[in-house]
Symmetry: C2
Subunit: 133 residues, 2 copies
DNA sequence: TGCTAATATTCAAACATTGACATATATATT
DNA sequence: AATATATATGTCAATGTTTGAATATTAGCA
């Protein structure tokens, strides 16, 4: 099996773990400091069972590491850099696809069409209806 | 609504788009050069309908941009840096959770337990059964 | 023009799968 | 026993993938 397949499989799993808002938040909260399950639960405003489950997710993928201290279990990031890596992802969000993006596309198509210089048949109005929700 | 919630929502959506191996591969393939749907379909060895749908996904999130050229539709990355960002994610994968990670955890727990110096009751063997699949 | 072939997208059905949450129970530590 | 955390279970909905057919879009050509 080609390495590309293997690697994208692994990557997609990583992304999958982070595809839940709560889990993203956990990572971001842990960026600042170690936190116990209870502390997290309070921050996230969810049940402690739910918190444990999400943590279990992150743990099984090596994102976080547990560290029991008496009755409490502290969690921290196995690789703290992941927090910054995640926020770097913000670069690739928005700006609001449906608005700007179709415009960009339209412009590109237009430039291309104008460029090849053939018959032009009312492109603008039709194109606008293609907007996705 | 606190900004943290909003941001992690957005981020989790981004991650969600990339949580499928095919979509990750598409991004990586597009790192090298623009590709048509047919080319992608051949590379990925899936139907063209499937390819279109995955592209539609990526498009609607502003990851890729279409660019029609005659009968073909070329796709490229809206922000080419995303390809590198994704491969950076490899840093946070493995090395094989179940093996190493439980070991690390065990060591940490042990260090802590040894540190606080109380009764030790055969920690290693028990801990090993905690391995996840 | 109008027809056909090539390319790409969409639709809808079928489908599996997942996965999140709550509740309850279990484990560990003091 | 009490606190803190983990897991197990059931349920529920939502989600997402695939396939095949129908529909656009464009090029080339008669």
């Amino acid at each position: 099996m080609p390495y590309r397949v293997v690697v994208s499989n692994e990557l997609s799993k990583l992304f999958n773990v982070l595809s839940h808002p709560i889990r993203v938040r956990i990572v971001e909260e842990l960026k600042a400091r170690e936190l116990t399950v209870t502390e997290l639960k309070d921050i996230l405003e969810i049940s402690s069972a739910a918190t444990s489950q999400q943590l279990s997710h992150l743990r099984s993928h090596g994102i976080v590491v547990e560290n029991r201290q008496g009755r409490n279990v502290f969690y921290h990031l196995r690789k703290p850099e992941i927090a910054d890596w995640i926020t770097d992802g913000l670069k690739f969000i928005g700006p609001d696809q449906s608005e700007v993006e179709t415009m960009v596309t339209a412009i590109e198509s237009a430039r291309n069409a104008w460029g090849t210089a053939s018959k032009q048949k009312e492109p603008p109005a039709k194109k606008a209806s293609k907007r996705r929700t």
